[in-house]
């Protein structure tokens, strides 16, 4: 739905008025359109003293993408993005120099600009090293809250033994720099392995892949179908038979096919497999997007409001994923993405059932990572925050206005923002990202 306030503070007389009054001014976010430049200006690469080699490698990667890369910045420079490489930090004191350099050019960051940190996971490192690495977490999350005009700050965290030239480092970096990550803010994504590969065509990384998207008839699911198809995937759109007409429209729009199926059916995996294998020979990408809400205070909760929410939101993804794995029905580099929710992370009054299911999804994803890795693939979750959908449009006006502004970008996200994150996680370049929860929430104030 339309965010009227956002439109008012960005156009005409009301824009001037909002400026004069010092009202919060959510920016129109830079969202990816095929053919758009990756960033809107030169990229500054800064690093701590111990990260020279890794900063060089990443700068080389950026040059390979035809970007204008700077290694030094001045207060008057205008940058499209700042890459802060901190992989070599050995003690908290090492962070000062590169971050103060970053701070010096921050005011010149272009609208829709990007700050991306690259660091290593604290893991079992020595206390001082771990303190430095964990410190970056705090820096990044605070820095992101400081950014304005649609700029975002996110971090790439290299897991134990992961090299800087791992495909998913470049893949994640490109995602975070691009307009595809418009509503991803204040997040740190861990690259767990060197798996994955860079796509031949960055505009169509999913070429030749076959995707199943559940709950695809409307809202976020429909947008996932569109985005995966745009990126080259053949989409099988799944939704309950009662939503069949909207589902058919989506399937036809993306030149995919429609499968009317209640995912809670015992034979759901079998039906999906039958549809996909006979027509396409393989199933590469599974997006468990189907979800329902039955909000009630726990004090008023009944089985009929509790059970279906758990059945659709978590039991169905569990059962279908397990059946696909057991039946050896997935392609050679499968990707599974589940929809979690910030409610599952931070909790939400009236949503014990929903939060149980969405937190459950996070547990499922973490626990399934090794099984998917064994199958050559990955499983991850995306946790949307406040997204402008038919569902959130039904929230009362005042509550909705507050919910929308409660994040660093001061606005709700669009369904396509969630879809972009999913398209990234299922891409070949995200092969090293496994068992993670990626929030698409504009850095919502709640939870981590």
């Amino acid at each position: 739905m339309t965010d009227t306030y956002l439109n008012l503070v960005n156009t005409g007389f009301t824009k001037t008025l909002a400026q004069r009054l010092g009202l919060p001014r959510p920016a129109v976010l830079r969202r990816h359109r095929p053919g758009d430049p990756l960033v809107t200006g030169p990229v500054l690469v800064v690093h701590d003293a111990g990260s020279q080699a890794e900063a060089d490698a990443l700068a080389e990667q950026l040059l390979g993408w035809d970007l204008d890369v700077h290694r030094h910045g001045n207060r008057d420079d205008r940058f499209g993005a700042i890459l802060v490489v901190l992989t070599g930090a050995q003690a908290p004191a090492d962070l000062g120099a590169p971050l103060l350099t970053t701070g010096g050019v921050l005011r010149g960051l272009a609208p829709g600009g990007r700050v991306v940190t690259v660091s290593r996971a604290p893991g079992d490192a020595a206390p001082a090293v771990a303190a430095a690495r964990q410190g970056i977490d705090g820096v990044l999350r605070s820095l992101a809250k400081e950014l304005r005009r649609g700029a975002t700050g996110n971090g790439i965290v290299l897991g134990d033994g992961v090299e800087i030239d791992a495909p998913s480092v470049a893949g994640t970096l490109r995602f975070l720099l691009s307009g595809r990550s418009a509503f991803v803010d204040g997040q740190l994504l861990t690259i767990g392995s060197g798996a994955g590969e860079l796509p031949a065509d960055w505009e169509r990384p999913l070429e030749g892949q076959v995707a199943v998207v559940t709950g695809a008839a409307r809202g976020i699911g429909a947008e996932i179908a569109r985005t995966l198809a745009r990126d080259g995937a053949t989409v099988v759109a799944v939704d309950v038979p009662a939503a069949g007409d909207a589902l058919a429209a989506v399937a036809n729009e993306v030149h995919g096919s429609a499968l009317q199926l209640d995912v809670t059916r015992e034979d759901a995996a079998e039906r999906i497999t039958e549809h996909v294998r006979s027509r396409h020979g393989q199933l590469d990408l599974v997006i468990h997007n189907a979800g329902i809400l039955r909000d009630k205070l726990l004090a008023n909760m009944k089985p009929e409001t509790w059970d279906p929410v758990l059945a659709v939101n978590v039991t169905a993804p569990l059962r279908i994923t397990q059946a696909l794995l057991d039946g050896d029905q997935l392609g050679t580099a499968p990707r599974v993405v589940c929809l979690a929710s910030t409610s599952g992370i931070a909790g939400n009054r009236g949503q014990t059932n929903y939060a149980a299911s969405k937190a459950g999804v996070i547990g499922m994803v973490r626990a399934s990572a090794s099984a998917l890795e064994g199958a050559g693939g990955t499983i991850n979750a995306v946790a949307p925050g406040f997204i402008e959908t038919d569902m959130t449009a039904r929230i009362p006006f005042a509550t909705r206005e507050v919910a929308r502004r409660l994040n660093s970008l001061q606005q709700g996200g669009q369904p396509r923002d969630v879809a972009e994150a999913i398209a990234f996680l299922v891409s070949p370049q995200a092969g090293g990202v496994n068992g993670q929860v990626l929030r698409v929430c504009g850095q919502n104030m709640v939870g981590q």
Partner: protein, 454 residues
């Protein structure tokens, strides 16, 4: 003159018998298969589709089919569809619906009209083209709206208006206009009346019902079974891949899962009230006027295999029939009973050689009269020219997922509904299983067909 013909002579001079075997034997044409189907739920007249045109509904049914089989942007060999109640502006209904659908605009289409057998006849035409190798794929369809029925001006007014359009001088124009009388202005809505007898279809069936001695109880039992079976099929998810919701409707609006013989027995008769025998036909055991559309995807084996699409059933053979109802020789809706023995003979089958029977429930009595005819030694000998009765069928194999009494009957859409439903049943039943379809139509006609699991 025509009465001198015997079915036997027709059989011997008829076309080459179709093979009931699964594959072509080299000498006969290749087979045409049913890949699947899609329809929108059928609504009652004046219900949720009251503002939907035939073109709207047919387009929706096509789009659902295209989505199910991933055909967006594809050029299908040909689309054949039709409607019984048709506006003159809809002369190219099938083609216009294709242009509004997700199919490639390079998909050709043509209209068919054979009263309630329209849907069946579209399947016949396209499967023949596929068997001959003229097309690799086709979509057969049918649609009807009794809510958005064409209303035309009276013939007298039409004559005057046409004269007016030809008039050149003001005097001629004035003269033409002056012929208009208030009575001319009453619009003519379409009816189910037979032009040659003036009787409605229900009254015709009532004559046959009375002549065959079909009881009210038997009709109500058949109607109740139709509702119960259709409801069970919905509950089992049988229609999940045969139907796409439309305008808020997810099931056939006419379906009454909770009906019973007792409830149906309370309804007052509506047809046959002026006959000597007690009237037995009610709104409960007759189909209501309905709105809806259906489609069936037909193809060669190669076309389906190329796309990894399922192959549900083969359209083995078909036969059209017609009876001399105008002179009262046979019942208006009994042509199926006449066509079936010819179809059986040509294919070397007996009436009992089928796993399923789909006899369109125009009225419960229509089905029961058909069965009674086949069980009648006398009728089969005298009217059908057979050696004896065709015999009875196992009623548990008849209309197993319900039929028109429960689903409704948008005239041209019924054939597609039945073909897709039966094809799916046959696949479930397994290889070699066989089904018989009979759909009666106005004008004393019928189209019957044999389908076999592919």
């Amino acid at each position: 003159m025509a009465a001198a013909r015997t079915p036997g002579s027709q059989t011997s001079s008829g076309p080459t018998p179709g093979s009931t075997g699964a594959g072509g034997d080299g000498s006969s044409p290749r087979r045409a298969v049913v890949v699947g189907g899609n329809r929108i739920p059928f609504a009652r007249s004046g219900g949720p589709y009251v503002r939907a045109s035939n073109q709207d509904m047919l387009t929706a049914a096509l789009d659902g089919l295209v989505a199910r089989f991933g055909l967006a942007g594809e050029r299908v060999g040909e689309v054949a569809a039709g409607a019984v109640l048709k506006h003159s502006k809809d002369f190219n209904l099938a083609r216009e619906s294709v242009l509004g659908s997700a199919l490639s605009p390079e998909t050709p289409a043509y209209d068919v009209q054979q009263a309630c057998a329209t849907g069946m006849e579209t399947v016949v035409g396209l499967t023949n083209k596929i068997r001959l190798g003229q097309i690799e794929s086709g979509i057969a369809g049918g649609v009807d709206s009794t809510s958005d029925a064409p209303i035309v001006v009276s013939d007298a007014l039409r004559t005057i208006l046409l004269d007016l359009s030809r008039a050149k001088t003001p005097q001629q124009k004035l003269k033409a206009v002056s012929r208009i009388r208030p009575g001319h202005l009453a619009p003519s809505a379409p009816t189910t009346g037979e032009p040659r007898t003036g009787l409605s279809m229900g009254e015709h069936q009532a004559l046959t019902t009375a002549a065959m001695g079909i009881t009210r109880e038997a009709q109500d039992e058949l109607a109740a079974a139709s509702h119960h079976r259709l409801a069970a099929a919905y509950d089992d998810g049988f229609f999940d891949d045969l139907l796409t919701p439309y305008r808020g409707l997810t099931r056939d609006a006419n379906l009454r899962a909770d009906t019973s013989v007792e409830k149906l027995a309370k309804l007052k008769p509506v047809f046959g009230k002026h006959l000597e025998t007690p009237a037995t036909m009610t709104a409960g055991n007759s189909t209501p006027l309905s709105d809806g559309a259906s489609t069936v995807l037909l193809a060669s084996d190669a076309w389906a295999a190329e796309r990894g699409l399922p192959v549900l059933a083969t359209v083995v053979d078909v036969e059209a029939g017609a009876v001399d109802f105008a002179h009262g020789r046979d019942g208006l809706l009994m042509a199926g009973a006449h066509a079936v023995p010819r179809l059986l003979a040509r294919n070397g089958l007996s009436l009992q050689d089928f796993d399923y029977y789909e006899i369109h429930e125009a009225f419960a009595a229509t089905v029961l009269c058909n069965l009674a005819i086949w069980e009648s030694e006398e009728y089969c000998r005298e009217r059908l020219g057979l050696d004896g009765a065709l015999g009875s069928i196992d009623r548990s194999k008849l209309n197993v997922h319900g039929s028109s009494l429960a689903a409704g009957h948008p005239f041209a859409a019924t054939g597609g509904r039945i073909v897709a439903t039966l094809a799916k049943q046959l696949t479930a039943k397994g290889p070699g299983s066989r089904g018989l379809i009979s759909v009666c139509a106005a004008g004393g006609q019928a189209v019957v067909a044999i389908l076999e699991a592919a």
